[in-house]
């Protein structure tokens, strides 16, 4: 069965009432030129980074909204589109505290070959036997009993 697209177009099944694609293209080109302008101006680094990130996110939003038709789709589809952004943000901010504990890249050589440190040098040592001291007791063995007033003594280093 050969249905023509033109015959279906009036039903609006695949047709989008969108903006002029040429206009979006021109905006994207101008924003790219603006990025190169900001890059070449020699602004202070924080200002330049902020401006470039803002321009890039604007361009990405234009592509998603108009070329990918997100602006014309049902609002529920935004959940699918935005979820990765939330997870990526978590990913970035969860990496930061881990990296901030490290003391790498103090020399030029460190950048080239990477800075490797034995885990035993940066992680506290757990004394053998202490961690499993109460492991054989059932978890609810102290249920109903009053909690000890004082915390257990600290594990000796």
């Amino acid at each position: 069965m050969a249905e023509t697209a033109a015959a279906h177009a009036p039903h609006g099944a695949v047709e989008h009432e969108g903006p002029s694609y040429i206009a979006v293209f021109i905006y994207l080109t101008l924003l790219t030129a603006a990025e190169l302008g900001v890059y070449g101006l020699g602004l202070p680094k924080p200002v330049m980074v902020g401006a470039l990130v803002a321009l890039a996110l604007t361009k990405a939003a234009l592509v998603a909204m108009f070329f990918m038709h997100l602006a014309m789709e049902r609002r529920g589809l935004w959940v699918v589109a935005v979820t990765p952004l939330v997870i990526i943000s978590f990913c970035y901010f969860m990496l930061r505290p881990d990296l901030s504990r490290r003391t790498w890249a103090h020399t030029e050589e460190d950048v080239i070959v990477g800075h490797h440190e034995e885990p035993s040098a940066i992680l506290p040592q757990i004394p053998q036997g202490k961690a499993l001291e109460h492991a054989d007791q059932p978890a609810d063995s102290q249920a109903g009993q009053p909690k000890p007033a004082a915390p257990p003594p600290p594990v000796p280093q």
């Binding site: 050969a2 249905e3 023509t4 697209a5 033109a6 015959a7 279906h8 177009a9 099944a13 695949v14 047709e15 694609y21 040429i22 979006v24 293209f25 994207l28 080109t29 790219t32 990025e35 190169l36 890059y39 330049m48 980074v49 470039l52 990130v53 321009l55 890039a56 361009k59 990405a60 592509v63 998603a64 070329f67 990918m68 789709e73 049902r74 529920g76 589809l77 699918v80 589109a81 979820t83 990765p84 952004l85 997870i87 990526i88 990913c91 970035y92 990496l95 930061r96 990296l99 901030s100 490290r102 790498w104 890249a105 103090h106 020399t107 030029e108 950048v111 080239i112 070959v113 990477g114």
Partner: protein, 206 residues
């Protein structure tokens, strides 16, 4: 029409209101592609987040301008933006039943992808054999090759994807089904463009 047949008529008025409404009415393939792209975005996002975190805490990170050519990559960015425009024009042509125009713009999109890959191959050739960089040289080169390489693989996949649609359309009349397939493929292509916009800024300019 019997009562049972009327109940099964998915085109009946109010059908979508009674059942769970589709997020992409008329083209369920779009929802599938959006879900795939959401997963793909998380992969790219993990790479970019790792790059950002590594760079943030690396005080001796080299200036990308010392190693990477901004002029060539600005041209590559423009090529991808042009190919996104030809992609939406191809879709618009397909939706209006203009098969020849659709094939012309889809062919231009494929050519844009191939030219982009050629520029990237030239850039990699210069960096690897001219500058002596490799994925093992430094964190800078490792994140650069992983991010741009992963994106290049997507462009290559997109070129194969769109070429398949183009070849399949030869000698056939425009159909509504073909327009739907093209819309789904267009989502993929624009996503590849979107990711490059971010890589161009984060890896090359900043």
């Amino acid at each position: 029409m019997s009562e049972a047949a009327a109940a099964l008529d998915t085109h009946a008025e109010g059908f979508h209101d009674e059942l769970e409404p589709s997020l992409t009415p008329g083209n369920s393939g779009k929802l599938g592609m959006w879900v795939f792209l959401a997963g793909d975005a998380m992969t790219f996002g993990a790479g970019i987040a790792a790059y950002g975190a590594l760079r943030w805490y690396n005080v001796n990170w080299p200036d990308p301008a010392d190693w990477l050519g901004i002029t060539l990559t600005a041209i590559m960015t423009f090529i991808l933006i042009c190919s996104s425009l030809t992609m939406v024009e191809a879709l618009s042509s397909a939706q209006h039943g203009n098969q020849k125009r659709m094939q012309l713009f889809l062919g231009l999109t494929v050519i844009g992808g191939i030219v982009f890959l050629g520029c990237q191959a030239s850039e990699w050739h210069h960096l690897i054999w001219g500058e002596g960089l490799s994925i093992k040289t430094s964190l800078f080169s490792a994140t650069f090759f992983i991010l741009t390489g992963f994106h290049g693989c997507h462009v290559f996949g997109g070129v194969v994807y769109l070429s398949t649609l183009l070849i399949n359309s030869i000698g056939k009349e425009a159909t509504a089904h073909e327009a739907k397939l093209l819309e789904v493929a267009g989502l993929y292509w624009h996503f590849v463009d979107l990711v490059w916009i971010l890589i161009f800024t984060f890896v090359y300019l900043i």
